[in-house]
């Protein structure tokens, strides 16, 4: 007997992920958009540069899943806001290294604890073992999805 295939959007994994992710992101963004006038991609840049000073645009792009156009724009905007400084590499004339300014570092230092607090609240009262379990599931999904994407890419060649 044939089973009727039905797709309840509310229960559909991609949809739920999308809604949850948007809500979390906008919640987080409310921490820094009004107060510091920076956008989500700009915050991400600040976050990476806070952990790894001196990265180049391309390195940032690869770490933050932004395309290079987005990086260019975020860099320009952050430089205008005096949160990031650019210094050209003498080893490679195409490249420049990016760093937080003192003001940028202050933004970082102020936002990070709030961001971690939100993350903590979203986790809720998960026991460490549960959190590990979740992390594990998430990692597996991440890798399955990237495998599927590669397969598809391969298929379309």
């Amino acid at each position: 007997m044939e089973q009727k295939l039905s797709l309840q959007l509310q229960d559909f994994l991609p949809y739920r992920l999308s809604v949850l992710s948007n809500n979390v992101s906008s919640l987080l963004a409310s921490l820094y958009t009004e107060k510091f006038g920076i956008s989500i991609p700009e915050w991400r840049m600040v976050a990476v540069l806070g952990e790894e000073p001196g990265l180049t645009s391309t390195q940032i792009a690869s770490r933050v899943a932004m395309d290079k156009v987005a990086v260019t724009r975020a860099v320009q905007s952050l430089i205008e806001k005096r949160l990031v400084r650019r210094s050209s590499s003498q080893a490679d004339g195409r490249v420049s290294h990016l760093n937080l300014t003192k003001a940028g570092r202050q933004v970082y230092d102020e936002v990070v604890p709030m961001a971690l607090a939100i993350e903590h609240k979203v986790w809720g009262t998960l026991a460490p073992a549960e959190k590990d379990y979740w992390d594990d599931m998430l990692s597996k999904m991440e890798s399955r999805v990237s495998t599927l994407r590669e397969e598809l890419l391969e298929f379309n060649k």
Copy 2:
């Protein structure tokens, strides 16, 4: 002793959710964008209308987490593509009811199994109990996030 707060973006829940969600969405979108020429919001409309024919724009907006402008645009585009039909309500002159055309239904019937197959592959080989556990965690996060959003909204009043 003071603990240094650090934020590794790669391990940060909001970031991981965002990347995973984008990857899943674009994987899914590859099923219908080239073949049927519809966008993600358009696909979502088709999906809801496939399950609940006759909804109005506002009802769709509430089910699909789209704002009304996005719904207007998706409706217009889907009508041009002859995938959706609009019939004005005689009970309420402001409103019209939306339905899939025969062609729209075909898109739905063709995409749903592929979408479910992708979902299934992303789940991987989770045992039913594990899947229930995941669903449960996801639901809890959803509700915590919406609570946090409300608190924030309240706070900003």
